[in-house]
Amino acid sequence: MTIVGWLQIFFVLAAVVACAIPISSYIANVLDRKRTFLTPVLAPVERGFYKLAGVDPAREQGWVAYTMAMLAFSVVGFLTLYAVQRLQNVFPLNPQGFDPVAPDLAFNTSISFITNTNWQNYGGETTMSHLVQMLGLTVHNFVSAATGLAMAWALVRAFARSEATTIGNFWVDLTRSVLYLLLPISVIGALVLVFCGVPQTLLGSIDATTLEGAKQTISLGPVASQEFIKEMGTNGGGFFNANSTHPFENPNIWSNIVEIWAILVIPVASVLAFGRSIGDQRQGRAILVTMGILLLVGVLVVYWSEAAGNPILTALGVDPAQGNLEGKELRFGNALTALFATGTTGTSTGAVNAMHDSFMPLAGMIPMFNMLAGCIWPGGVGAGLYGFLVVAIIAVFVAGLMVGRTPEYLGKKIETREMKLAMLAVLIYPLVVLGFSAASVLLQGTLDPDGNWLTNAGPHGLSEIIYAFASQNANNGSAFGGLSGNNLWFNTTGGLAMFFGRFAYVIPVLALAGSLAAKKKVPASVGTFPTHGALFVGLLIGVIIILYLLQYFPALALGPVVEHFLMLGGKTF
């Protein structure tokens, strides 16, 4: 680790926070349906959308109708995305002449994109036509992120309102999030990336004659327009197989900084916007500080572990000065690679600027743990906020147990029904991740070294499987890429993990929103536990560590932890 490296990290984080502050007030205005500086331009478009869709924007929905709207939108999105992939050979804009995407792969990819996961069992440049990239994948990069933000604000409104029967209108939240927030920033961001060197063309590929006279076919495409929203919508599905390690997705240090900024800015801004929407900015700041601490501890571990290099290779005569370079691009450096890896899994992005599979064992454990906890520091667009609010509810419940008072959060009493719903949401994770991982090992024998399932043997192989389900369940989408995911077993189980990870989590959350909205907001009294100070930050961190480390410690011990000690002993598999 170097001082310059840490300066790079703090420079990027400072840029994120500096921009998140004005953006947070904008997000609050967009979702609270106030006037913004873009209203004169966009209001007619917005009204046109409602008119064509037959939506009355003035009519709000209760939690059941809100959930039904979200589910209907997801189902239609799934079916159209599946159809576009299966029929890509008959549609235009298929310059490389790809065949239809196979049914199990199209299933996995469709679930993946409607749930904001963007898991890649496909190799972008070898599977998907430009039409699928644009009309299928880019569209869901926008709308799945907007859906996340909509659901978060359903919960935020539940806290802001008193004795309310409605939590907003899904169609309005969706439309406003795309039109006012995601699309305008993406237009600017995509052009910035083009100036950094990211291609944006309708050509499929170009043939070059190398200096040594060989032919090199270079894949191209409309990369920049997808790249930026891929990061800012915390999506992460790459245009190319190698994702943001590919020089066309991420050509230099500047594009790398822009992309890390884009990954973090909306999640950070929406936490601050939450404080504005409930009328108490201290609450947003306390949550953001908690998230910041958890994120920075992760960055520290990854950076320290990667900068030390691989002792097995050092013993062979590799200079450890550059750290562990396997799977890394030279141009980013260890510091910003560590920040990218931690940020992409602290949010539900899952884009990578280095191959996480080749990380040192403890460095690889950080992305894994971030995802096992559900990607909530600072979390995916919207998804991070509602995920973290659920943890906050559990934390005030724990505090309430300790002092023997009915717990309350933001003026709402947390009672049996709320706790049941919060626990229902949280407990789906270990069931899906550990359940599917165990089934893969026991039923399919995926750890068998001759089985063609995994690139790595030994404990690292188990890590590849746990990582895959942690990633898909948390709707992240990054991978230990050595796992061969494009087969019937992993396409199907992975698709189910993504489905449950999104919907089995968010339906209890929306029910929780309905239940909280109906409660009377009680004013704070002397006996109220303050949820904006250092004590609450400490409590949140404690609850997170106890809740998630206890659930997953045995699995982590068999994967990255044991691999770390075997590596120190020079053992290879």
Binding site: V198, T209, N241, I257, G317, G327, H460, M567, T572
Partner: protein, 200 residues
């Protein structure tokens, strides 16, 4: 649920049009006008022939050229489409090795590469000389790896080492303000300037 089906279908159609057609085509149109070179892949040409992209590494094996990092990209086996064969710097199928830190295959590959470069624990080689990148298309090497190759290239080209070393120094990009970025050498551009020097 049924009352939500019409808005669901209409919204998908509208957003597909707006974010899936209008947005990427508008960005393409603007980019092709204001920044045509990067928008088309930062291609390099020599005598009217495209020789590659400044951003994408390519395979060099001759002694007279500087070599890039090892690359883990592959391609379909022409004899058996279900298998793959090594194809370094295949810019139509980017990928890393995905070897974990305790991988025996990684150990064996690095061991062979270190030996080929004459390295040992007493005389270690730069890490980028023996590790594959995430994309398999990394266009850059470290100044240390370039220095390691100067004498080989100079001998093959029958040029004085000092002149080749000067080329490397010239081609080394330094971090912005000494802070942002890593010192690096673009291999393709270095080799183009080497060809120019040799042709003089």
């Amino acid at each position: 649920m049924f009352s939500q089906i019409r808005p669901a279908i209409v919204m998908i159609v509208l957003f597909s049009t707006l974010t899936g057609v209008v947005y990427p085509l508008a960005i393409t149109g603007i980019a092709q006008v204001v920044a045509a070179k990067p928008a088309n892949g930062s291609l390099l040409t020599r005598d009217g022939v495209v020789i590659g992209s400044a951003l994408i590494g390519q395979q060099f094996s001759g002694d007279g050229y500087f070599h890039g990092r090892p690359s883990a990209t592959n391609t379909a086996d022409p004899n058996d489409a279900t298998k793959t064969i090594d194809a370094p710097y295949n810019a139509a199928n980017s990928s890393g090795s995905n070897f974990g830190p305790t991988s025996l295959k990684l150990h064996d590959r690095v061991k062979a590469d270190v030996e080929a470069l004459g390295g040992s624990p007493e005389k270690p080689v730069p890490a980028d000389a023996v590790t594959t990148s995430g994309s398999g298309l990394d266009p850059d090497i470290s100044p240390a790896f370039a220095r390691l190759q100067v004498s080989r290239v100079a001998a093959a080209r029958k040029l004085p080492e000092a002149r080749v070393q000067a080329l490397v120094t010239n081609a080394t990009a330094q971090p912005f303000l000494g802070l942002l970025g890593e010192p690096r050498v673009n291999v393709l551009q270095l080799n183009v300037s080497l060809d120019l020097l040799a042709a003089k």
